[in-house]
Every structure is written in structure tokens, then in C-alpha cells.
Amino acid sequence: MFSSSLSDYQFTKLFKNGKFSSVYKANHTINNRVIVIKKFTLEEENDEALKKLFAEILCCRQFNHPNINKILHSFISDMDVYVLYPYMCFGTCQILLDSIFINGLPETLIALIFKDVLSALMYIHSNDFVHGSVRAHHILLDSQRAVLSNFHESRSFIKHGKKKNVLHGVSQMKNLNWAAPEVLDQNIHGFTEKCDIYSVGITACELANGIQPYIETQPTLMYTEKIRGNVPSLLDRSTYTMLLDDQGKMPFENSTRRRSFEVYSQRVLSEDFHQFAEICLNRNAENRWSAKKLMTHAFFKQCRHSSISDHIKKCRTDLQHNSSLDDEVIIGLQDEQQTERRGNSDHVQWNF
């Protein structure tokens, strides 16, 4: 389906340029499909990272689920590994948070995203895998659905033909803020697939508040807080006061933080959403609901009359008023319009 020759791909845009990997948007000239290409260099002496990459590719190829980011193809050319992914026009949820929804995504959109994420997690867990790094950065969006990506932290309960009951191991430094207390604790108990549910809870706070939980906290303090069962919460009219200091004043100097604080103090998030986050963030892993059970939570009722594309349309109108946005999102939106138009024309053809 996809060619293994580099000359068949036309690189159109560089998303990210790193030391070990770069991400490009590209066009597959043979079938004219827009894809994302991740390029990893083999020259680097970082065999740890390479091993992880191979594990990720192997792992992803075992999965087949609409809400899991597929690897379309991978090949080696010169000293580089190229991995092909489908193009998701909105990129990661992180990009949305950074550009459009600075004070957090609307609750219904969050519900829609989590519905997809949880169905992906349900699938992964039923295959005895743990994702290990659920966070806004690892959830991709296009106009139809949210998909879970970045499986480099994922681990399987099955190793050497034996199924283990618990997993051990540490998580990557940049994902620590999302890690469950039992993962951080590194004791004999180990952790289970429930650690993903905890990360979902932290991600819920991240998406709703627009800020990474624990972003300004020392890692050691974050660790002790989580061990004590203290968790970040969804900020709205009922909970925003916890941000205030002893004198009842806002602790932030910076004006954007002040503005988002005002937003928090005025909005209301549903009781179901608060409850959902609370269940996910339970200190005791056994009391956390499984992904399957969470799908039945009342929080997802609001998904019924809504779809991700509705929200995207809404934000497109917002976009027209606000020109100071990230290029990427604008391009994403344009692409989305294109794909939608194409989709519409398909639809017309069907009618015809």
C-alpha cells in the first residue's frame, strides 16, 4: 500500500525537529494521501530510545481499533527509520489547549474525547497491555474522533509466554505528573492497568483547566502529594477557591493566569464530571473503575446529541474573530474543511 522508497513522499511541512526524531507532514505521491511521517535517526548512540521505538511499532501493529493511532507503514532508508501515521488535522489536544481553549476545553468536548479514549483503553486492557502515558499530548483529534497515540511507554502483562499479575517499572520523566501513585511508589505491589485510569483523571483536569497539573510543583512534592491521596481538581465555581492563598488573594502575578482564574470562578462543571474525575483519581487502584465501567458513567450522557465536529465548527467561528492563533491550528482547520468537503462530495455521490 505504502511505498518504502523515500522518493515517493513529498514532505510538505516540518512539525517538530528534535535531536533524535523529527515529525513531518507529507504527501504520499502514489495515492495522494496526506500523512504524518516521524523520522528517527539510527546514528544516535541512543539504543535505549531505539529499542523503545521498535517496541512501540511492534505493539501498535498488534492493535486494530478505530481510536488507536495506526502505524500505516515503517521503513528504513539510509540511516533513518521512517514511521508513517495517518494525518490527524487537529494534532494533539495539547495544541488545542495552547491555542484555542486556553482555559480548558468545553465539558461536552471533553466527554466526547474521553469516550473515545476509554474505548481505546478498554481495547488495550483487554489485550493485556497498559498504555502507561495517557495525557493531553498523546491524544490526537481529527474532525470525527479522538485517537490514542504514543505507545512507547506501553507494557504488556505477558512476557516470555507468562502472564504477570502486576507490572513494575518507572515512567519517563516527562510523563511523571500523570503517573499514578502506585507507579511512582515502585514497591513490591507493582501496578496494574488501573494506572491508566488515574492518568485519565489527571488528563481530565488538564483538559478542563487548561493547565498541566503539578506543572510548577517539585517532582518530590508531587510524589508525596499523590501518596497522601491529594489530587488536583476540576476548577469551577465550587472549587476555584482552593487556588486562593491564606489571605483570600489570588496568588498569580501573571495576567493570563488571573484571567483564567476569573473564568474558573464563573463557570460551572457538571456534578457528573466532578464525580468522574474523583473516581479516576482514587488513591486505591482497586477502587478505581475499569475503563469498561467508566464508559457507562453518567458523565457521558451529554455525548448523545453532540459530536466532535460540532465543537470544531464552533471553534472555527471563534477562530475568525481571533487571528493571533497558531499557524498549525489554522492549517489544521483548513485541512479539516478540505477533508470535510471531500467527505461531503462523497456523500453527494452516494445520493447520486
Partner: protein
């Protein structure tokens, strides 16, 4: 009354405090340095002053001559007393009239003063005059690592648990002090070589050196290594028959062979393979550790000929026991691995001896013959052991041959639950010991608890209580065992003994046999005495 300190264990989480007995300005301290070498050091302290303090430190509550102590009977606590006593002498302007408090660092400093300069004064102190205080968990950082509790201690220094404050990874830190290294022959040289070796090694089954730090001011060196929850030796020590099921030994042995293969491929001969040097991580991955006596062959060496062997006697091959001038290095590790495997699975050693000379004589004398019961247990297993314990190094199996061995390739049937990793300091989940330090650091104000004090007497009582309960437990399990296997009249006697009331002659012998085990347990228990119920002054 005289205090005799039977061993020095820093694990005892306490600070030492010497108070003046009833009256005199001069005190005498009688101290036993270490358990191993029963040296008695007598310190006479002529400079002990009772200077009035300028300001009373709120942390130090006055305690006068621990009246209710009563005095330690036979045993006494494990404590670095000698340092404490020196402290009275060294820290003249004490913060408190009759009291000198010392923390670990000060004890270290005093160690140096009293030992290295050759202080000839000895002190004697009443056991009831020594008061311990539960140690406060003051956070200590070395570079980016937060230090936790002491995991173990050797002649070179301590091993502490630590945590990387950036990625929250659990680690173990070996702390080496120049002063202690100088006392060991070739100490500094050995450590430099060990670091050099560890830096080259990167394998799943070899302990990983994460970082090396130096503190010139304190003359300390820190070797940061990956964290292991326990060693095979401790597992065996805690197992009922000092052995593990065959299938469990099999999984560890396979990992040992994998690790050894990596070492040998790097031209490194470990020379000290034994259960005590095989550690386990949380997910039961075996790690070969302690490269203190390891040797790396020269890149251009024609073969693996070695000249020195410094490993543990019971695991030495005949060629070393017989004192050959040169021998094949790789085969030394094979022999020790064979002894290790035999020890894991049976709890026995192929060669024994009353003392080290007898032992080495027995090893060197003749070819080992696998006992008949071993063949009955598992013939393939007996064959492998026999192949690894060939007295002639050239006839001994190589790693490649072991890989092809029938037992090595087999999957022994799971015959029951594996023996577990023993609890570390009473915590069966093996939680990080760094956590209390972090909590004290981050929530210090909330947790200002009362100071806890206790005396020798309390420690002794607690020790005795623990030892008694340990003994009762052993008796109980023995009785239970006996009850399971044979329905003999003696069972009733044992059952009676179980309650701890009767002490039949049968029990006594059993207890005697297990005496060393109890002692060891008791020693360990000291480090985890809960002080909640102890008398507070």
C-alpha cells in the same frame, strides 16, 4: 554498671546521648567496637565539662541520668557508643548542661578523631546513662539524590537507599569514605577498579552503575546504583529450610548464566559469585553485583589465566583451594555458579569444613560426587551440578555447554509457591524509605511530633521480647510441621511448648540449633523497634 556494646549498627535509628550519672565529672566508657572483632575499648574522658549552656535549644529536653533505666542486664543495644562517648569529650560546649547529642555525621567525625589520631583515653559510662532519641528525618541531598534509610553496611561504608529527585527513580547509593578505604588493604585501588568495570557493563542481569559523585570536602565517594529490593542470601535465610523450590532456582540460574555470559564477553571474571552477591529487583530480575574482587583480562591476553583469587572460601574451586599459581579464570565463575545453584536448591554446600582450612582442604582433596538423594530429586539437575563441579577445570562445563544442558533447557514443574523476598525493615511491600524524609521536608511544620526518648533498658526489654516472640514463632512452626508429618507423642509436648509456657528438653535443643537464627533475627529487629510504647521522659 558497665555497658558492653555487642555490635555497631547504624541501622538503629537513634541518636546517642550520654548523660552524666549521679555526680562525677569523669566518666568511664567501656565499649565494644564491633561484633566481629571483640575488641574492648576503654575511654577515659577527662575533659568532660558541664558548661552551662548559653541558650536552651528547644529540641533538647533535659534528661538527667535516666533514673528508671534499671540497667541493661546481659545484652545491650547496638549502637555506636564509642562515638557518642567521644562526643562528650569533643563537643565541649554542649547545647545542654549534661547532655551531648550527636547525629550520624558528628559520629563519623568523632570516629576519625578518636581512632585515627590514636586517642588513648577511654571512657566508661553507665548503661542507664545512655539515652537514645528517635532520629528525626532530616532530608539530606547529595547532588540531585535524596537520601533515605541505610540498607546495609560493610567495611567500606554504608549503602543507603536514595531517590532521584528529578525522575523519582529509586536507587541505592554506596557511600565510601576515604578514611575507611585506607584501612582496607588495596581499598582505594579496588574501588577504582570496580568503578572502571561497572562503567563498561550494561546488561539486564548486571547491576547498573547510574552515577558516581565525589565530595572532596567530606572525603566521600558516592556510587549511585539501580535499586534492588533484596538478595538471594536473605531470601534463603528467611526460607524455612534455607532453600528454594527447584523451579525458582532454575529461573535465577538462567538469569545468572545470561549475566555471566555478558561479563565474560567483556573479559571480566567476577570471582565472587555467591547468593549474597546476586540481588533482585522489584520484578524479580536477577542482578550480579559486587565487583570488588573482579578482574578484567587484558585486551591482548592470550587466554583467561589469572593469578589471584579473593572470593568467599565456600565457593572457591579446587585450583584456588590448592593454591595453584595460575588458573583459568572463566572456569572459576562456573564452579562458584555451580556451588550457588546447589546451595539455592538444596540449602547445602558441596564441601564443608569446621574452619576455613578444613574447608579448603576438603575442596582441594577430591572430586565431588553427587549424593544418591540428589539423583532421586532430579537426575538432570544432579548431572548439571556434577558437570559444573568438576575438579579439573578443563573438564568443567563451559557457559556454552551449560546453555545446552538438559536441565538448563527444561522447565521444572512448579511445585508450590515461590519463596518470597523477605520484608525490608518490617515493610513487606518494600516501600521507599525516602518517603518519610520527603514528607518531613515538604510538610515539616505539620508533623512536629514529640521527641521520643528511650533508654538502654527499654531497648533490652524490647529486644528480649522480640527474641522471645521470634523463638515462639519458630517453635510454633516447628510444632506445626511436626504435627503435619508425624503423629507422635512428642507432638503434644511441642504443642504445649507452643504456648511458651513449657520448655521441654526437646525444645531447648531445637532452640539451641536455631539459636544463631534467632540471634540474627533479634539483631535485625533492633533496627525496627517501634518506639511508640516506650517510656517517654
Amino acid at each position: 554498671m558497665t555497658v558492653t556494646v555487642t555490635s555497631t549498627t547504624h541501622a538503629m535509628e537513634a541518636q546517642v546521648k550520654a548523660t552524666a550519672g549521679g555526680g562525677g565529672g569523669e566518666q568511664q566508657h567501656d565499649v565494644d567496637l564491633a561484633a566481629d572483632d571483640e575488641i574492648t575499648v576503654l575511654l577515659t574522658n577527662k575533659n568532660f565539662h558541664f558548661d552551662a549552656p548559653s541558650e536552651a535549644d528547644e529540641a533538647f529536653v533535659e534528661l538527667n541520668g535516666g533514673g528508671g533505666g534499671g540497667g541493661g542486664g546481659g545484652k545491650s543495644a547496638d549502637m555506636d557508643l564509642e562515638a557518642a562517648i567521644g562526643g562528650a569529650h569533643y563537643h565541649e560546649p554542649a547545647e545542654h548542661p549534661q547532655v551531648t547529642w550527636l547525629d550520624d555525621d558528628e559520629i563519623d567525625t568523632l570516629d576519625r578523631v578518636t581512632l585515627d589520631i590514636g586517642n588513648m583515653f577511654f571512657n566508661r559510662v553507665d548503661s542507664q546513662d545512655i539515652i537514645y532519641q528517635q532520629k528525626k528525618k532530616n532530608i539530606k541531598m547529595v547532588d540531585k539524590y535524596v537520601m533515605g534509610d541505610v540498607l546495609g553496611e560493610g567495611s567500606y561504608g554504608k549503602v543507603k537507599e536514595a531517590m532521584n529527585s528529578e525522575n523519582l527513580c529509586r536507587l541505592a547509593v554506596k557511600i565510601l569514605t576515604k578514611r575507611k578505604l585506607r584501612r582496607i588493604p588495596n581499598g582505594e585501588q579496588n574501588v577504582t577498579r570496580e568503578i572502571h568495570l561497572l562503567k563498561q557493563l550494561k546488561h539486564k542481569n548486571v547491576v547498573q552503575l547510574v552515577d558516581v559523585l565525589y565530595n572532596d570536602e567530606k572525603q566521600k565517594m558516592y556510587l549511585v546504583m539501580e535499586y534492588c529490593i533484596g538478595g538471594l542470601q536473605e531470601m534463603l535465610d528467611h526460607a524455612p529450610d534455607k532453600k528454594m523450590p527447584l523451579y525458582q532456582a532454575h529461573t535465577y540460574f538462567q538469569q545468572l548464566v545470561n549475566g555471566l555470559e555478558h561479563l565474560h564477553s567483556c573479559r571480566i571474571i567476577h570471582k565472587d559469585i555467591k547468593p549474597g552477591n546476586l540481588l533482585l529487583t522489584l520484578d524479580q530480575t536477577l542482578k550480579i553485583s559486587d565487583f570488588g574482587v573482579a578482574e578484567q583480562l587484558d585486551l591482548f591476553a592470550p587466554d583467561d589465566t589469572c593469578t589471584t583469587g579473593q572470593g568467599s572460601p565456600a565457593f572457591q574451586p579446587p585450583e584456588i583451594a590448592n593454591g595453584h599459581e595460575t588458573f583459568a579464570g572463566f572456569k572459576v565463575d562456573i564452579w562458584s555458579s555451580g556451588v550457588t545453584l546447589y546451595n539455592l536448591a538444596t540449602g547445602l554446600y558441596p564441601f564443608e569444613g569446621d574452619n576455613i582450612y578444613r574447608l579448603l582442604e576438603n575442596i582441594g582433596r577430591s572430586q565431588w560426587v553427587a549424593p544418591d538423594w540428589l539423583y532421586e530429586l532430579d537426575a538432570a539437575f544432579a548431572n548439571l551440578i556434577l558437570g559444573m563441579l568438576q575438579a579439573d577445570p578443563s573438564a568443567r562445563l563451559s557457559l556454552q555447554q551449560i546453555r545446552q544442558d538438559a536441565w538448563f533447557l527444561s522447565a521444572p514443574a512448579v511445585t508450590g509457591p515461590p519463596i518470597p523476598i523477605p520484608p525490608l525493615k518490617g515493610d513487606k511491600y518494600g516501600r521507599s524509605s525516602v518517603l518519610p524524609y520527603l514528607e518531613a521536608y515538604h510538610y515539616g511544620n505539620e508533623q512536629d511530633q514529640e521527641d521520643v526518648y528511650f533508654t538502654e533498658h527499654d531497648v533490652n526489654q524490647e529486644l528480649a521480647r522480640r527474641a522471645a516472640s521470634a523463638a515462639a514463632e519458630i517453635r510454633k512452626s516447628a510444632a506445626a510441621n511436626a504435627a503435619c508429618h508425624l503423629y507422635e507423642p512428642s507432638t503434644s509436648a511441642e504443642a504445649a511448648a507452643e504456648s511458651g509456657l513449657a520448655n521441654g528438653s526437646l525444645e531447648e535443643t531445637r532452640v539451641k540449633k536455631k539459636g544463631s537464627a534467632i540471634k540474627r533475627r533479634a539483631k535485625k529487629i533492633v533496627s525496627c523497634i517501634k518506639l511508640s510504647h516506650c517510656r517517654t521522659s
